[in-house]
Amino acid sequence: MAASGSHLAVFAPVGATGRVDAVVRRLADAIALGVLADGEQLPSEAELAGLLGVSTVTLREALMALRQQGLVETRRGRGGGSFVRTPSEPLELGARLRAYAVDELRDLGDHYAAIAGAAARLAARRALPADVAPLLRSLDDMAAVSGRVAGRAAGGPSGGPSVDAGSAALIRLEGRFHVEVAAASQSARLTQEEIRSQADIGPLLWLPYGDADGHDEVTAQHRAIVEAILRGDPDQARDLAERHVCEAMERLIELRLAVD
């Protein structure tokens, strides 16, 4: 698979409360941060409602809000459907973050850390080389993308789309990496929970660091998780995976606290 794990996350069922808002928030994050690419066609209304576990009425309401925000364009007739529109203005992170209360972020982080930790622990006990191969490939793919991003940042022209292709690709790869760790646990339920956590907060949580130090630190954390799984060290794998999520959430909460 390439990036489709991250799409599964975007389209995983939403919770019972505030369904229209939840659908809007999730798709808006995915579009604003480039997890869904500009011009990409969304599944049909019936299919998308089915994937998200909401009624078509709820979905239509959410799509209407997204159209108003300019994030989705709907064309009628043959070849019609709803298409992703990546905003041309720079990403306004504050606007995205305002949709989340600090308490909610903290709770999402607690839950996600528990899932990621438990999955990594079981992966270290159960993974065979064939289960680790996709993780290694994801690490290589992330390194290749960050190489390109770093190269452009050093000498390339500034401006362009609000979220560059490199950071969107990194968010997708990060999501894929975590789903692969969860799958290595051999637990379908933990994998489904991992996908759900990513759906709820993934694109913001895995927003790449702007500075090289932060980026290197995240890369080192990924490598350490994979190495603990390869070594068959369950406690270490769990601690590292929990810390990885907790630190990412702490950074996101700091950003959230900075906006009113």
Partner: protein
């Protein structure tokens, strides 16, 4: 009835020495073999029918198209259900005239209806599903006549703990894609565990890498890894990449 734990001393020899126990092990291995071979028989049929479709066409714009592969549907539907939760043909990239990548893949949804699995197969899309990395594709591509992948968490198709079995489809020596089927581990268990239970000792099926597929002991459940253990012996399962591991019996 089932003796638990390891056997030692004279008592330990009973499972090995008792012809009835050896017979139970043989039968259990045969049940596992027949269960898996049944799925492969379906795949060989799908393979032959697909190869016939491909062989009738020339490469290029007038070549095989997606709609031609729809002719496989009655055959696929006939095999879907029971042990087989998903089945189809996965085209080698570039095989079809009207799509660079394509799956003619059908599965049962939660309510038991047949649905076609639709994945984004546009290489330019961010959701592009590149199936050529998966073992069920690379195995047949690299010449394996019968590939058994998993058990693994199949989060892209069944969303469950599954096995994927696959065979290559070749036409005049040229690889055209794979015929494959998904088998849910819980259904596989249902098919083989009754025969494993007839073995009067802990018994379980492992894949070539040592991953347990189905078992009669909580110590070695499906998903765990068997790395060899004193007092356990491996028995072959036909010529499949699977073994039956039984406590207290000499290996075959």
């Amino acid at each position: 009835m089932p003796q638990t734990g390891m056997h030692s001393g004279p008592a330990g020899a009973t499972a090995a020495a008792d012809p009835a126990d050896a017979e139970a092990v043989r039968r259990a291995a045969a049940r596992v073999r027949d269960t898996v071979e049944g799925v492969f028989a379906a795949l060989l049929d799908v393979r032959d029918r697909t190869a016939a479709l491909v062989a009738g066409r020339s490469p290029g714009p007038a070549g095989l198209s997606r709609s031609d592969l729809a002719e496989l549907r009655p055959v696929l539907f006939g095999y879907l259900g029971g042990l087989i939760a998903g089945i189809g043909f996965i085209a080698a990239p570039g095989l079809l005239a009207d799509a660079p990548w394509y799956l003619e893949w059908w599965q049962e949804d939660a309510s038991g209806s047949r649905v076609q699995l639709l994945r984004d197969l546009d290489p330019a899309s961010s959701a592009f599903y590149d199936y050529t990395h998966w073992g069920w594709y690379t195995g047949p591509l690299e010449g394996s006549e019968r590939t058994i992948c998993g058990p693994y968490v199949d989060y892209l198709c069944t969303d469950e703990y599954s096995l994927t079995l696959s065979v290559p489809v070749t036409v005049e020596g040229v690889f055209a894609g794979v015929a494959a089927a998904d088998v849910l581990v819980r259904r596989f268990e249902g098919a083989v565990v009754p025969a494993l239970r007839e073995v009067p000792a802990p018994a379980f099926v492992v894949n070539a890498a040592g991953r347990v597929v189905a078992s009669t002991t909580a110590k070695w459940l499906g998903g765990s890894v068997y790395r060899g253990e004193p007092g356990f012996a491996r028995h072959p399962v036909g010529d499949l990449p699977l073994s039956l591991v039984v406590a207290g019996t000499p290996g075959g």
